[in-house]
Symmetry: C2
Subunit: 345 residues, 2 copies
Amino acid sequence: MNYRSKKKVTISDVAKKAGVSITTVSFVYNRPEQVGNKTIERVKEAAEELGYSPNLYAKALLSGRSNTIGVLVPQGLYSIYSNPFYTELFRGVGQICDERNYGLNIISPVEGSLENAINRALVDGFIVVGINESHKEVAPLIKRDIPVIFIDGDVENNYYVGSDDEEGAYLAAKYFCEKGIEDIAIFTFQTPDTYKDSGYYGVGGKRMRGFKRALDEFGMLWDQVIKLPTHASIQAGYKQFEKLVQERRVPRAILCVSDVMAIGVLQAASDFALEAPYDFEVIGFDDITTAKYVYPSLSTVHQPIVEKGQISAKVLFSMLNKEEVEFDQKTLLPTSLIHRGSTRQ
Amino acid sequence: MNYRSKKKVTISDVAKKAGVSITTVSFVYNRPEQVGNKTIERVKEAAEELGYSPNLYAKALLSGRSNTIGVLVPQGLYSIYSNPFYTELFRGVGQICDERNYGLNIISPVEGSLENAINRALVDGFIVVGINESHKEVAPLIKRDIPVIFIDGDVENNYYVGSDDEEGAYLAAKYFCEKGIEDIAIFTFQTPDTYKDSGYYGVGGKRMRGFKRALDEFGMLWDQVIKLPTHASIQAGYKQFEKLVQERRVPRAILCVSDVMAIGVLQAASDFALEAPYDFEVIGFDDITTAKYVYPSLSTVHQPIVEKGQISAKVLFSMLNKEEVEFDQKTLLPTSLIHRGSTRQ
DNA sequence: TGCTTTTACTAAACCGTTTTAGTAAAAGCA
DNA sequence: TGCTTTTACTAAAACGGTTTAGTAAAAGCA
């Protein structure tokens, strides 16, 4: 089949057909009290017959608003929608958008470039996730003079909402240290080159610093810990653990910088007849919804993802409406270690 | 703190500052080969100093395109982003958007009205999920003369992509019937009044008809089967099963019209020291990713959700580009029964 | 009746771009 | 040198609406 659209019918087509000015047509929709009843009737009839519907871009040009906010994410939509962390974040942002009758647009790189994406996004403001404010790709944001708030990046000069990643990671690592476990592997983020500055980047960096602080405290050698860069997905976690099994170096304890990796680990373990917390222990990070339901249920560092989304949306809306913002410029949410089935108390 | 934006700088501000016409400024960005080098230099400098960034609505008005497609969903964003079915659907749609460098906007009701939402959405085309084409709320879509494709609704006159819900449900119910189980409960969708026509609506209706066909075939009385309308969420499934336990009428078999409900059932069962498939058996519907990872792993009717998203996006893009569409007007994807831990072979 | 107010409508300006059609100056060419 | 072509730029017309300022006719009023 072949789709063809008829050509657009504009306000002046309706005006012509109804025998009135375009002003009158506009008034029929926007200030009907200024128009006589029979005229309203006639205009609406003409509009109906022609199949008129006002052009939204023209309206947006006049008002300067789209009534939509954007969440800027550093990966493609397929990745993003495969990662429960983002889904839960969107849940929080979306809830506030529901309340305010705003639209929500997830903005991901266009041809690999966030700058392109920003330069095309028809939104009134941005929530930027996982990117440092200093990153050159987000420079056009400042230029566009549009309200922006950052989540999970290194941020100095803008609004920011994040979790206490360093502390959460510290608690997780400390738990193993206190048990005297020395044979630890860390599944770290595999930072895409584009967004990598130096050393450990963003939340991944903060979590690593938390792990290190605990190990340092207990006199363990940071350099001797196995660090395995792993994509944030179940599959990648599975693969990484599979490799450890095949190389016969499954450690006593695993710290994952993300729950999905940890779930992959549990899955792989089960396929190789290993079982947490008996053959090894594992702690994830994020406390996504699924963490409770997997088997064994996943011990993890909880961070309030949904709330993070809610708060950032609220702040953004305050900026949009030029209201006082009811939050500090930097909001740091608490993290906590949650013991479930994948660790042995 | 208080956010203030400076006033917008336009192309004519830049033109004035650089001492050229606005045409020249426009050319600098869109057809630089038409402009002398020193002029380009001068214009860019002026633009930089003023912090110029072109107005996207004006551009969109000219081009008539936003390079974004919309997925129209029947619930608020909080609900949608709590439901893995949608997330996986968006994954499929998003993948194609990634490839084509298109944006993806999830459009949910504005003040409870999808019509409002449609009338504000700055998108080039719509994928409509779970709503019948005859529903009055989607009428403005046809009016806006914009490409549309439907997923999971009752559709006659438009492009449509769906799964063979009736057959999948039939297989699930038949499985229990063949085992001679008569004590069956069905967890059905709780259709919001707004979108309810008559009888069982949309995919929920198709699935119910599939269940019924199997029961009929085995001479079981449809009216004697317990039917429990349940919201599509883990919590609601949990609550519903909890009630069954408390009323001491846990059935031998449960058919759920959605995986999330079934996962709630498993969770509640575990909390009441019941365990599938020993104390009862349960089959879900959808085969969301999590179904594999819960305990016991969930037997379910598989439908290719991601593929559904991919196909509908592909069809929509063909319509947008006025290409031949490589799919039939109606695409019906196969479903199949997957046995995992929550049933006993 | 004549004056004021209200009602119903409209012309024109504007929003911020892109694009078309055109021009003057510079360059190319015999 | 005189003619044609190219280069570098611009004025003005779109795009499709909303809004302001204004007008003519109808209604209100003494």
